[in-house]
Every structure is written in C-alpha cells, then in structure tokens.
C-alpha cells in the first residue's frame, strides 16, 4: 500500500502536548544549567535527580490510570509511608529478611487497594473522600506501627533497592539493548501503520524523530553510566513504566479504563463491568504505591513518621502537567513521567541555587497553575 504522509504542521498538531512538555523540560534544564554554573548538568547531579524522581514517577504511573477513570487517590503519601514502615518494622524489630519484608509490604498495599476499591467501586463513595479518609487514617497507622520513632538501619539487601547501582559495563549493555528495542519497536509500528493505510510522518521526519528520541534515551543512560551506573530504583521505574504503558495501550483492561473515564454510561451499556474494573485498578495501584513506599524507605535507609508526606500532591501535579485530564478519559504514562521529571527538576535546581524553601513552594505552585492553563488555552483552539 502506498504511504500517506502527514505534513509537518499536522504531525506537530497531533502531538502538541508531547512536544510542549519535552520542550518545557529541556528549557528548565537549560535555564538551571545556566543559573547554577553547569552544576545542574553534572552527571552526578542529574543521576541524583533521576533517583529523586523515582518514587513520584512510580506513583504517577498508576495515578494516571486512576485519573483516567475519573477518580483520584489522595492517600498515596500515607499509604506509601505505611507500606514502607511495615517493611522496616518487620526487618528492624522482628528480623525478617528483605524478601519476606518486601512481600509483606506489597501485600499490605494490595489489601489497602482492595479496601479503597470496595468503597469507591461497590459502595459508590467518591474516591476523593475514601482516599482522604485513608490519607488521615494511615498517617495515624504509621505512628502506630513505628511507635512514633524513626526505624533504622535496614539490612543491606533491603537498602540496596534504593541505593545501589548496576555496574557501568552491564549498564551500558542494557542501555544499548533498550535503545535498539525502541528503534525496532518504532520502525515496526510505522510499518504497520503504512500497511493499514494510516497517515505517517514523512520518512525524513520519522528518521529524525526516532533518532532524536533514541539520542535522548541514550543520553539519559549515558549520564547515569558516567556517574556510577544505572540505579536499581531507576531500573525498577523503567519496568513500571513499560508495564503500565503496556496495560494502558495494549490490554483489554486498559482500554476499558479509558472507556469508563471517557463515558461511563456508554461503557456500562457496552457490557463493561465498571465496579469490577475499578476494583482491579485500585488493587493494582495499592501494589504500586507499596512498591514506591519500599523504594522510598530503602533510599532513606529508615522509616520515618513523616515519610511520603505530600507525595500524592506531587504525583497528581505530575500527571496533570503530563496531560492527564481531571475529567477522566485522557492521559498517558509517559506524560506523567515527564511531568514528574519537571517537578523534581524544579526541586533539584532550586535547591542547588539555594533558593529559600518558602519560594520553592510558591514557584512550584505557580508553575503547576501555569502548565495547566497553557494546556487548557492551547486545547481550545
């Protein structure tokens, strides 16, 4: 079949949001590099930045799907803190090994997710209220299990999830494989679109796009390898992003979530069990939040009573900046990851510049507002 080509204008219009976000992230990096005398762009700092992003990004991946269904979860900070505390208590007080402590923590997350799912899906209590209740309740529960004290240190095997690196050489091999896989995937996708007569961008642009994205991906790996290698936590994030992107785009479950958020009535009349699917989603998300809690605890090498505070707000902000609609039906995992990177870049850059924490909060708040306004204003057209 003959190839149908989009002209440049069309292909930019189809992906305005992605390009704006990537552009914004690049702009933020360039500005900080300039303002911090290249301190920001230093591989050690960037590698650290990625590590800082991991917990928020893991949570944001799942939060995207929650928001796609038109729901929200305000409890992730408390639940992540609690799940982390469970792992820490079991290990520090009761001497459990890392694997059992992690398993117990994940089971806790799953159970909490089921609890949320029960109330949201079957009892029809708004998710905002259900998770607001959990936000308070599990903050209390953290105090309960830790006895109000900071629990540390963790065993080496648990701590390494948050602090260790894959050695540079295997990292490099992994990086090459990843980039190759991406290129293969992109080429195959384009070929498939041509086969079915969908419009694709012109060959030149396609090559340029694939090349620049490969370069960006490779660049991120290179930065980490130039430091100490790929952190385990970043590897975990890669896995989460792949799995959740796959769920959102390639599975029946994901398709149903988008339909529920896009038009719940139409979804129900198309034979989609809304309750069942929401229950599954909240359980999956519970598991994910616990994972983030474990990474966070491992990185701190301690469970503290305030761990995870405000995590939900950062995650929601990341999703929204990344183009997830609060009305449901729209949102991408990769957008949320870029949103999370923007948020933590701001944190990191402003800290490097020694900006007073007062202004850091104010600036972050205003940037969130600005990002959403730009999105709304550009979408009207």
């Amino acid at each position: 079949m003959e190839e149908k080509h989009l002209n440049l204008k069309e292909s930019i219009r189809n992906n305005t949001r992605q390009y704006t976000m990537i552009g914004a992230l690049a702009a933020i990096w360039i500005i900080f590099t300039f303002l911090t005398n290249n301190l920001f762009i230093d591989p050690r700092n960037l590698s650290n930045l990625f590590l800082q992003t991991v917990t928020i990004a893991i949570v944001a991946s799942g939060m995207t799907l929650i928001m796609v269904t038109g729901n929200i979860d305000l409890s992730v900070g408390s639940v992540a803190g609690f799940a982390g505390a469970v792992a820490a208590v079991l290990q520090v007080r009761y001497g459990w090994n890392a694997a059992s402590a992690v398993a117990a923590s994940l089971a806790t997350g799953l159970a909490i997710g089921a609890w949320h799912g029960f109330w949201v899906a079957y009892s029809k209590v708004p998710a905002f209220i259900v998770t607001l209740a959990s936000m308070m309740a599990f903050r209390g529960a953290i105090l309960g299990v830790t006895g109000g004290a900071t629990l540390s240190p963790l065993s080496e095997s648990l701590k390494m999830i948050g602090t260790n690196y894959v050695a540079p050489f295997p990292s490099a091999v992994f990086a090459v494989l990843c980039v190759a896989a991406y290129v293969g995937f992109a080429v195959r996708k384009r070929a498939r679109r041509v086969k079915y007569g969908f419009a694709v961008s012109k060959p030149g642009w396609a090559v340029l796009k694939i090349a620049s994205l490969s370069a960006a991906l490779g660049g991120i790996f290179l930065i980490m390898i130039m430091n100490e290698g790929i952190p385990y936590a970043v590897l975990l994030l890669f896995a989460v992003v792949l799995i959740f992107s796959f769920i959102s785009q390639n599975t029946v479950f994901g398709r149903r979530l988008y339909a529920i958020g896009g038009n719940a009535d139409a979804a129900r009349l198309s034979g989609i069990g809304i309750e069942k699917n929401l229950m599954r989603l909240f359980m999956l998300f519970g598991l994910l939040v616990a994972t983030a809690g474990i990474v966070m605890t491992a990185r701190l090498n301690a469970a503290t009573t305030s761990a995870g505070s405000n995590m939900e707000l950062d995650a929601i902000a990341a999703c929204v900046i990344g183009g997830t609609s609060l009305m449901g039906g729209e949102g991408t995992i990769i957008g949320a990851i870029i949103g999370a990177l923007i948020m933590s870049s701001l944190d990191n850059g402003m800290s490097l510049m020694n900006i007073d924490i007062t202004y850091q909060y104010i600036i972050k708040g205003l940037i969130l507002l600005l990002a959403v306004w730009v999105d709304i204003a550009t979408r009207k057209k």
């Binding site: 599975t251 029946v252 198309s270």
Partner: protein
Amino acid sequence: MTEYALEMKNIVKEFPGVRALDGVNIQIRKGEIHALVGENGAGKSTLMKILSGLYPVGTYDGEIRLGNSLCRFKNIKESERSGIAIIHQELSLVRELDVMENIFLGNEIHKWGVIRHEKAFMKAREALQRVNLSVSPDQIVRYLGVGEQQLVEIAKALLKEADILILDEPTAALSEQESGKLLGILKSLREKGVTCIYISHRLKEVLSIADRLTVLRDGKTVCTLDNAGITEADLIAHMVGRELSHGDDGEERTVGEVILEVQDWSVYDEATRRHVSQVSFSLRAGEIMGIAGLVGAGRTELVMSLFGAWGIRTSGRVLLRGKDLSLVNPEDAIRAGISLVSEDRKRFGLVLIQDVKNNISLASLEKISRRGVLDANKEVRYAEQYAADLKIKTPSVEQVVMNLSGGNQQKIVLAKWLMTEPAVFILDEPTRGIDVGAKYEICRIINELAKRGVGIIIVSSELAELIGLCDRILVMHEGTVAGEVNGRGATQEAIMHLATGNRN
C-alpha cells in the same frame, strides 16, 4: 386585522446535517390557549427553544414579534424580561430546596443580600393560591408529586409576570386527575388574560382546552385551525401527512422460530413508579417488530430493561431461545446475545473523545484480544470492515468520533453492536436526528440482519418508517401494550389511535 400577542415568521433553524425548522409561521392571539401539535421530531420543541432564547438570535433565520416590537433574544433572561416563560417537560426545580426558595430562585426577595423570609413566604403563598395549590411554601420540593411540582413551576412563572406561558408536554407525567386539575387552572389563567402555548401529544386534552391549534410536520407549518368541529382523526391526518415509506425492498423474509419471549414484564424505578406494566410479546428469528407509542409511553424503559440497563426492580419473565434470562446488567445481556442501540448516542452510545476503531470494538474486546492483550492489527481489520460495510464516512478509523456527523456516529454505534453478533437486536430511535441518506442506509442494514435470522425490535417515533420496515408493530400507551397492528397495510392513523389511549 387582529392584534397578535406573538408572531413568529419564517423561522428556519438548521443543525449540522438536519434542517429542523423550515419556514415555520405561527400567530398567537392575546389571551388564547394555542396548542402546538405534531409528531415527535416535527420541530415543536426547537421552535419553543428559539422563542425562549435558548437558541439565541443569529443561530436561526426569521423574525419574532411580540405585539409591535421585534424581538432579538440573546438568552433566556431576555425572553423572560419580555414576559415569556417556558415550563419544560423535564422540570427545572431544585429538588432539595423548598417551594418558596424555588419560586424565587434567581429573583430572591432581599435587603442588602439578606433574604427576607417572611415577605417571601407571604408572596409565595399568594402565588400558590393563584394556581390552586395548597402546599406550604416551606415544603421541600422533593416530597411533592409531579403534578404539584408542575404547578409550582407555573406559580414561579406567573410571579415573573409572564404573560405568555409555554407549556411543553405538561401532562406527560401526570395522572388523569392531575391533568384535569392543571387544565382547569390554565382555563382560569386564560380568564385573567394570560396567553398560553400548549404542546401536547394528548389530542383529547388539546381539543378540550385549546382555542386554536397549529400543526407542525417535518419542520413546516401544516395549518392553523380554529378549534371548532375538529376531530382527533382530522388532527392525526394533518400531523402524519403523506410520506413515502422506505427501506422495504419487497423481498420476502423467512421468519423462523420464536427466539425471545417476554411474559408479564413490569419495570419499576427508584420511586417504585411503574413505567412498564404487564407487557407480553414474543419475537421470532428473522422478524422485525416495531414498538410505537408517544413520549413517556414506556418504550425506552421496556427495551432498556430487556437489556438489563434500566429499572430498579422488574417482574415477569424473559426467555431467550426458551431459556430463562436473569437480566441484571448489560454485560449479561450481551453475553446472552441481546444488543441494544440506545436512543441517545452521545450519552449512551459513544466515547466521543476516542477514535472510530476504539468505539467499534468497545463491546467485543474479547474478539480482538488473547489473554487480555489487544491485537491492534485485528482491531483495525474489524473496524475497517465495518466502516466499509456500513459506508461510514471517515478519513480513517483513527478519526476521533466527536468530529463526525450524526449519521456517521450512529453508524459507528450500529457497527459496535453488529460486531457483538447478537441474536436479538434492539434499536431505540435508530434514525433520530440523522439525514435521509444515512436513514436509508440504516434501514437497509436492519433488513439485511433480519434476513440473516436476527430477531429485531425497533422503537421509533417515525411511524412511516415503522410501517415500511416492520412485520408487525406493538403500540404502547402509558406502560402497557395498547394493541398490535400488522406492519403491511397498517395506517399511521390506526397506530396514533391506539397510542393516544384508545384500545381496539
């Protein structure tokens, strides 16, 4: 020349792809009750929406004159200020507030922003007396009956000093006794000089109350009559007119065994009101059965309940191929082999922000997936096949559905349900709001399905279409089956006769 209170001249209103009003003329005399009648979709509601400012000036052609002045309403407030009040079929009261608060909503009696409760109470009581409603102004609206709520609406309109009152199907949800009371009040308002435009399907009522009548058909004024010596049959003849039936290619279908059997089926809503009572019928494979009836006759409630999508409680039995079905949700119904194209495609049929292929595959994701993983290639193949079969006009199956025309959207909904390969296919108003070409196409598809042995139920307000398409037509009136007519050789008059409450 008589001084008219209101004149609408050459009103033309177009929606994308549809000309809803095509040069409508209507003159209303001061102090009369003027009835507006016509089939569903004739343009009555559209006309009233223009008059009340809901469709602002500039979105239609033609002119509106109130007395001697030309009106150019930009919004509802402006038409209200000119003394026009509309009472919609769906009541617009805030159910959680009390009667007085509703009456003064947006017009609160206050001093420095503080509500003056005593004064409001007194004025509300006066207003309620004018409509003969004996409820306390501090009664919460939720606890009032539908008829009483209607009267509250009228009281509210009168307080705004409306001298033209528009009532859109005010008695559709009322009992006979309540309707009688309402009509009495309208008569007494007429004596006080209030002009009233009355829209109703209940022709008996119309003939008992109206001074003059205007009949609309297909967006055009058919005639304006004095209410003297007119019979229901005359009115029906004007409403229906002569129209070509289509979709019938004359080819005989072979009708098979009974596939769906409904016995003593009743459906109740939250408030335990019964919307469908004791309906029984059976449907054969390859048969096309129509369901006719007026708005509010329970047609949609009946078919939606057969799809597991409506009603809090049901009683009776539904058998599919002789097997009892427990219809709890659409998921079960689809699995059993029943599919339903709902009447409101934007609300119930489509995910507008998604593309054509996603919408087509939505109800049959199992077909394009293995172990929960979607096969994108398969999905595209299915979508393209249906798009070609149904002649869906779209640049590609990746087009977002929101941007397509009504006819194409409706075909996408049809494609979605065809993909489930149902044994019983129910279509609720499948041709509403779409152009003639798409209508013809949809009728063709229905015929074709029947030839393949699918049992088909069509709910439609377009009688000509039902007659042309159906083997037989069930006529509903107030939740019951008023009668059944044969498709071939049925007259629209006979159907309207049954639908307006006359049993045969």
